[in-house]
């Protein structure tokens, strides 16, 4: 009898928790499904294949990719340093990584805009690259938003790799750089790829900082998330729906493909 009661409560526990898991899926799925209420197949393809939409799509893909490359390029060594070394100011560095999380994206964009109105920022705009209301500004906004997150994600990956591997490699004759390249990097490869995809997804969907620094000029600095906002502002519901569907399909599609391959090839 006791066994039965325990068995039933176990099943209830398991099923109620699985129900919550499905609830998360259901809530998001209903939101996605509701988009189709305003969708008309003929206008969908017209909107999808329009120059303005394709421009936004290509700009979003390229800008997110560049921002991700930059974030990972600085994030990997930064994360390694934070994970392995003790140095003066480490706590400050570690804390400021969360800046994009604690201030809103719009505030982050405003900070960028203010910086480029300072003497140093003005000099950079005039003599190096102009970031204000340009495509370079789009990449910069996405890079600034994702750099901290990418570093934090990669640090978690490196933290989980025991330092003993590197120690043993050094004992076998490897320099710190070789130990990093031949041991730490291959062991963290999967985690870094995972972090890159999440970083890319975050950059791809970035809105607040981008619109603040780069503006919202169609066929210039208008990324997909900005296009969603612009079309909604103009009461173009069908256009808004198409933009959201492209964003959702690409974002979730890439994450799903990654999960599929990660399961089949665990050491990739």
């Amino acid at each position: 009898m006791l066994f039965q009661v325990t068995g039933r409560s176990n099943i209830f526990f398991k099923r109620s928790f699985i129900l919550c898991a499905f609830a998360t899926f259901g809530i998001y799925f209903i939101l996605i499904l509701s988009l189709f209420y305003f969708l008309n197949s003929s206008t969908f393809f017209n909107l999808l294949l329009s120059y303005r939409t394709l421009y936004s799509l290509v700009l979003s893909l390229i800008a997110a990719s560049l921002a991700t490359i930059l974030s990972i390029a600085i994030g990997v060594p930064a994360a390694y340093a934070l994970s392995r070394y003790n140095f003066y100011g480490k706590e400050f560095v570690d804390t400021i990584l969360e800046l994009p999380m604690v201030v809103s994206p719009a505030a982050l964009g405003a900070m960028l805009l203010i910086f480029f109105n300072n003497p140093i920022g003005l000099w950079i705009n005039e003599h190096l690259i102009n970031f204000v209301f340009t495509i370079a500004g789009v990449v910069l906004a996405q890079f600034i938003t994702t750099m901290g997150i990418a570093t934090r994600l990669i640090k978690t990956v490196i933290d989980e790799i025991p330092q003993r591997y590197e120690n043993v490699a050094r004992g076998l004759g490897a320099t710190p750089l070789k130990a990093f390249m031949m041991i730490t990097l291959p062991l963290s490869k999967r985690g870094i790829i995972s972090a890159s995809i999440l970083t890319w997804a975050k950059a791809f969907g970035e809105f607040g900082a981008t619109i603040t620094i780069a503006g919202s000029m169609p066929a210039n600095t208008e990324t997909l998330p900005i296009a969603v906002f612009m079309r909604l502002s103009a009461a173009d519901i069908e256009g808004t729906v198409v933009m959201i569907l492209i964003l959702t399909a690409i974002g979730l599609g890439i994450l799903y493909i990654y999960k599929f391959f990660a399961k089949r090839f665990p050491y990739v």
Binding site: N167, V168, A169, G171, L172, A174, T175, K178, L187
Partner: protein, 376 residues
């Protein structure tokens, strides 16, 4: 040859204090101690993994060269940690040849040029055959059994050509049979390749089997260090406790005999015995000290023996059979103190002690005073 001279360090709140010992070339020096005594910290400090730690003082010398400030890759000794740290993304072959690859050595001929380090492809293959891993070079690390992993780790450490090894409990967690097999293997390759090894363990059997010299590390300090036969006799109370020594008694110096031997009286055993004063240091008359005797150094007789050693008559209170010996608790007539003894099972059986005779059957035990040692 390893020489560790006054090595001290601090890692967070743990202190390693003034460690000094030396390891002769072509020998194994075992460091034993309880968990948390600093064994791994000591090994990592010797290996140089804490060179950025500003709290290190003292010297580490290898064959006369002071390597204290050298990075690990320039110290020329291989380190095998407790979990072996076999690289999971590389197969057995790539693990073994990792040392070759990082040194940018390409091809057999080039390898052979480094004769002084005895590094050659043929050497590694021969080593792998000796250790019995040559048949699974292409296997992944995940697919290896416990014993195979240990063998791969040993070959990887030696394949670099390093003849100085630091081993951090590499056989922990293995079952007894496999452990013994690997002890013999380690002894064999140590003798064959003339290795100089510092190995830490908390397993006393392992330490005494493998080591020629033994140091006992307790609370970050070497409590005792010496040859195996010297290490059998704990010199301090901390070591005695670590060994689990039960037969510790307070003794009083009664006087000195004509040949300057020390006459001791142990009130708990009502026992008088004479000891060479040299081993006990110079003691004053009436001074108290502690003495101990290992449980396996006490002999049993089923009647009064005629030997010169002091006898204590009494009864067996209880006994516990273990795999190859019997642990016995003995109480002398008129004494309050229990003594712990050990003897092989076959010998115990010959004594004819049965459960029903406990506390009844009179028996004598004999203490060879040569095995009584002072605890400072």
């Amino acid at each position: 040859m390893f020489e560790i001279i006054n090595l001290s360090t601090r890692v967070e709140n743990f202190y390693l204090k003034d460690i000094t010992f030396s390891v002769a070339t072509d020998s194994i020096h075992m460091i034993i101690g309880p968990s948390g005594s600093g064994k791994t910290v000591l090994l990592e400090t010797i290996a140089g993994f804490t060179t950025n730690n500003i709290n290190i003082s003292g010297e580490v010398r290898v064959d006369g060269v002071d390597v204290t400030n050298f990075p690990p890759e320039r110290r020329n000794f291989s380190y095998v940690p407790q979990d072996l740290a076999l690289f999971p993304h590389l197969n057995v072959e790539d693990n073994i040849f990792f040392g070759f690859n990082v040194r940018n050595v390409r091809g057999v001929k080039k390898v052979n040029q480094n004769q002084n380090q005895n590094m050659s492809f043929d050497f590694v293959i021969a080593l792998a055959q000796t250790v019995g891993i040559s048949s699974f070079f292409k296997r992944s690390i995940d697919s290896l059994s416990g014993g195979e992993r240990q063998r791969v780790a040993l070959v990887r450490a030696l394949a670099t050509g390093n003849r100085h090894l630091l081993l951090d409990e590499p056989f922990a967690g293995l079952h007894v049979g496999l452990k013994k097999e690997l002890w013999f293997l380690l002894k064999e390759i140590q003798r064959k390749y003339k290795l100089t090894i510092i190995m830490v363990t908390h397993d006393i059997d392992e330490a005494f089997f493998l080591g020629e010299h033994i140091s006992i590390l307790i609370d970050g300090r070497i409590e005792q260090s010496g040859l195996k036969r010297e290490a059998r006799m704990p010199q301090t109370m901390a070591v005695a406790r670590f060994y689990g020594l039960k037969n510790i008694f307070k003794a009083i110096v009664e006087d000195y005999s004509n040949n300057n031997d020390l006459n001791l009286y142990i009130p708990e055993l009502k026992l008088r015995l004479s000891q060479e004063q040299l081993a006990f240091d110079l003691r004053k008359v009436q001074e108290c000290l502690y003495v101990g005797i290992r449980s396996e150094d006490i002999t049993f007789y089923d009647n009064d023996n005629q030997e010169a050693h002091p006898n204590i008559r009494g009864k067996i209170i209880s006994y516990f059979e273990k795999d190859h010996f019997v642990m016995i608790f003995f109480k002398g007539d008129g004494l309050d103190t229990l003594m712990e003894l050990e003897m092989p099972y076959s010998r115990f059986k010959n004594l004819g002690i049965k459960e029903v005779n406990l506390n009844i059957q009179q028996i004598s035990l004999s203490i060879d005073t040569n095995y009584i040692f002072p605890i400072f």
